[in-house]
């Protein structure tokens, strides 16, 4: 690695890149033809091509959001993005069949090891396509479907047609339109009634090429009384030019079902991460978003739950870390449409070296939804004077019987706290890492152990070299 590259990569451990061995690579830029070409390449049914084209036109006409970080958003050059890149000709079921470069990359990221130890299934996406996919046989026998989204569309067209865009319409926002136009990869999951998938399934997303756009699309349907935990991780090489990650995730929790969706996003600091995640919870169902944002240049992401069925429950627990040049604009959205629904939002953000963290939250309670409970807690920790934290909470409560609690706090690391830890043999950096990891603990404890350990290490690394 050159000196420059080393400098750019810094402490980011996943910043290497493989040589590009594309089997199919689209030229930069977006047009209706590009959209049609992607669809044709995938041999898609007519209706999907039509949605893509409609979404494309909506994307072109839709202005940029006028909130978040407008300045950074304006800097995105949509003509300098590669919208489709395939590096492997197939989605393999055997690890050995994955091309060597790609295999090495995922091995460095610990993916196959994790699969053996603690997962029910794995999908690994590299650029635009899933390159590896597996599910435990016993789950398959119970009727659990876990596929990459393209295979899902081929093999279960009826289900996909019914639910695709049903939770997040393409016209929801500019980036959901973009994703719908050019989507590729992502996961398709169906859990039959009453089936509990005990160990998590994992998706890992890796961008390798420069100026790449990754637009995966995920659809998870948990049928009555079933449960599943989906975990996703993501990394990319560090480049001096930007990449774009714009996913759409739709969750459907049927009556009594339980979906937990955990993310540890660690994109390199040149990736725009503009993601729409939303779930619908029917009667007595639970949807939980456990959302960690550590990397990226700009993240705008507000995992949402529509509490449609009586007695349903939503939880969004999120952390965001913003370092130098980073802005994490994250939050949550909950809509209480039915009675006796409950929601809990816990958002924690840490800003350092001039980084910026924003909490943007929206909770609504519809007038006919009786006896709802809402609890929102936002905590920010600033590590220096140059960093910034803002909260933009919105609550629209149309039913006077709702019980709503909101708490917000901004704190700083005190010298006395550092001194206390240092008096126990910890260097200043170690002491800071203990404080920071403690601050994130209410989030970390929700993660599978392996992810929790990785997150702690990641944050300790971020604290290194931070003491002047």
């Amino acid at each position: 690695m050159s000196e420059d590259a080393r400098e750019a990569v810094g402490d980011y451990k996943a910043g290497w890149h493989d040589p590009e061995n594309a089997t199919i690579r689209f030229d930069y830029g977006l047009s209706e033809q590009v959209v049609r070409d992607i669809s044709a390449l995938k041999n898609e049914p007519e209706w999907m091509t039509e949605i893509r084209v409609k979404a494309f036109h909506h994307f072109m006409e839709r202005p940029m959001p006028t909130w978040g970080n407008m300045h950074m958003l304006e800097e995105i050059d949509f003509d300098k993005v590669c919208y489709y890149l395939r590096s492997s000709n197939a989605t393999e079921k055997n690890w050995e069949d994955v091309p060597e470069d790609i295999r090495n990359t995922f091995e460095r990221l610990g993916i196959p090891e994790a699969e053996q130890k603690w997962l029910s299934g794995v999908t690994a996406q590299y650029e635009s396509e899933a390159v590896y996919h597996s599910i435990r046989e016993d789950l398959e026998e119970q009727g659990v479907i876990f596929l990459d989204m393209d295979s899902g569309l081929r093999e279960y067209e009826g289900i996909v047609k019914e639910y695709f865009c049903s939770v997040v319409p393409f016209s929801d926002n500019k980036f959901s339109a973009l994703n719908t136009a050019v989507w590729s990869g992502g996961s398709f999951i169906y859990v039959p009634s009453g089936v509990h998938v005990e160990m998590p399934v994992q998706a890992y997303f890796r961008i390798n090429a420069k100026n790449m756009g990754q637009f995966e699309r995920t659809l998870i349907i948990a049928d009555e009384g079933s449960s599943i935990h989906y975990v996703e991780g993501c990394t990319a090489p560090t480049y001096s030019t930007d990449s774009l990650h714009s996913a759409v995730v739709e969750l459907i929790a049927m009556p009594g079902a339980h979906i937990r969706y955990s993310t540890v996003q660690n994109w390199s600091a040149n990736v725009y991460n503009l993601v729409t995640k939303r779930g619908v919870a029917h009667e007595n169902a639970t949807i939980e978003w456990i959302d960690g944002n550590i990397g990226s240049k700009l993240t705008m992401k507000y995992p949402a739950v529509i509490l449609k069925g009586e007695g349903s429950h939503a939880e969004v627990i999120s952390v965001a870390y913003s370092g130098k040049g980073q802005h994490q604009d994250a939050g949550a959205k909950i809509h209480h449409l039915a009675s006796n629904t409950t929601s809990k939002i816990l958002s924690k953000s840490i800003s350092k070296n001039g980084g910026r963290g924003s909490y943007r939250g929206m909770v609504t309670v519809s007038p006919k939804a009786e006896n709802c409970k809402v609890n929102v807690v936002c905590d920010a920790l600033l590590l220096d004077e140059a960093s910034r934290s803002d909260t933009y909470p919105t609550m629209e409560v149309g039913n006077s019987g709702a019980r709503c609690e909101h708490e917000a706090s901004v704190s700083k690391v005190s010298d006395d706290q550092l001194f206390y830890l240092m008096s126990r043999g910890h260097s200043e950096e170690e002491a800071l890492a203990l404080i920071v990891n403690g601050f994130f603990e209410p989030f970390t404890r929700e993660l599978p152990m392996e992810y929790a350990v990785e997150l702690n290490q990641l944050m300790s690394l971020e604290m290194e070299g931070s003491i002047g």
Partner: protein, 255 residues
């Protein structure tokens, strides 16, 4: 043959925000000795403790401090901890989210090496310590000093001392806020750690009770940033009976 003092403080002066708080402190603790420091509120006791531990807010303007002949003032706080200094805080700080068990393991490992924080020996020490201090197992899962009662905080400081086994233990009013059993346990802990070893302790206190248990070798009286009088255990009795006025008068008369 002369023994190297465990702690040797000479002419120590220290300020905070340009205000001089310590105005020339001399103190020598030999291996195996326990000393006590008494003095009114605001006389500089905690400042002395903080300066010995290397709190960044204080500026040392004069003097030197040696631990086993090593220059302490040159070291950062964590290096002093690793060199063997331990401070039981008058007001321990909380670290939300950091679990007690995890913190203890990491601290012992940082100070005494990874091996010291592993295996059955460490676990037994921890178990015994917690039993002695009347701390329940569930305590290990709580967050460091977060929501602890005053007494729990003090007990936790002593638990750390027991596991870390420092060369020099500085106890800043660890007895304040402890119940009678707690004070006895602390005293036993200090005794077990110091007597008959090469370690030493500096006990800062307002009360005679803990000193009746530990029986310090020397008692020092601190007034306005200076040690104005040193003596044996009888000094503590006298202070408890008569307060500090008579010492102040004595000092003024001598000046």
């Amino acid at each position: 043959m002369s023994v190297t003092p465990l702690l040797k403080i000479e002419g120590l002066k220290a300020s905070i925000d340009e205000t001089e708080i310590l105005k020339g402190i001399d103190l020598e603790i030999l291996p195996g000795e326990v000393h006590a420091v008494m003095g009114r509120n605001g006389s500089g006791k905690s400042t002395t403790a903080h300066v010995l531990m290397g709190h960044p807010d204080y500026e040392v303007t004069n003097g030197n401090v040696k631990l086993d002949g090593e220059d302490l003032l040159e070291m950062e706080s964590y290096e002093r901890a690793r060199a063997g200094v331990f401070l039981s805080f008058q007001y321990p700080h909380s670290v939300p989210g950091l679990q007690v068990g995890n913190f203890l393991r990491r601290s012992v490992s940082a100070i005494n090496g990874e091996e010291a924080a592993k295996g059955p020996e460490f676990r037994n020490l921890l178990k015994e310590g917690m039993e002695q201090l009347g701390l329940d197992r569930s305590f290990l899962a709580r967050y460091v000093n977060d929501g602890f009662s005053g007494g729990e905080k003090k007990r936790f400081e002593i638990l750390q001392m027991m596991l870390i086994k420092p060369k020099l233990a500085i106890l800043d009013e660890t007895d304040s806020g402890l119940d009678i059993d707690g004070i006895r346990t602390v005293a036993q802990g200090v005794d077990a750690a110091i007597r008959g070893s090469n370690s030493g302790a500096l006990i800062i206190t307002h009360y005679n009770r803990i000193l009746e248990h530990v029986k310090p070798d020397k008692i020092h009286v601190l007034i306005d940033g200076k040690i104005v009088k040193s003596g044996g255990p009888e000094l503590a009795n006298k202070l408890e009976e008569r307060g500090y006025d008579w010492i102040e008068k004595e000092v003024m008369a001598n000046e």
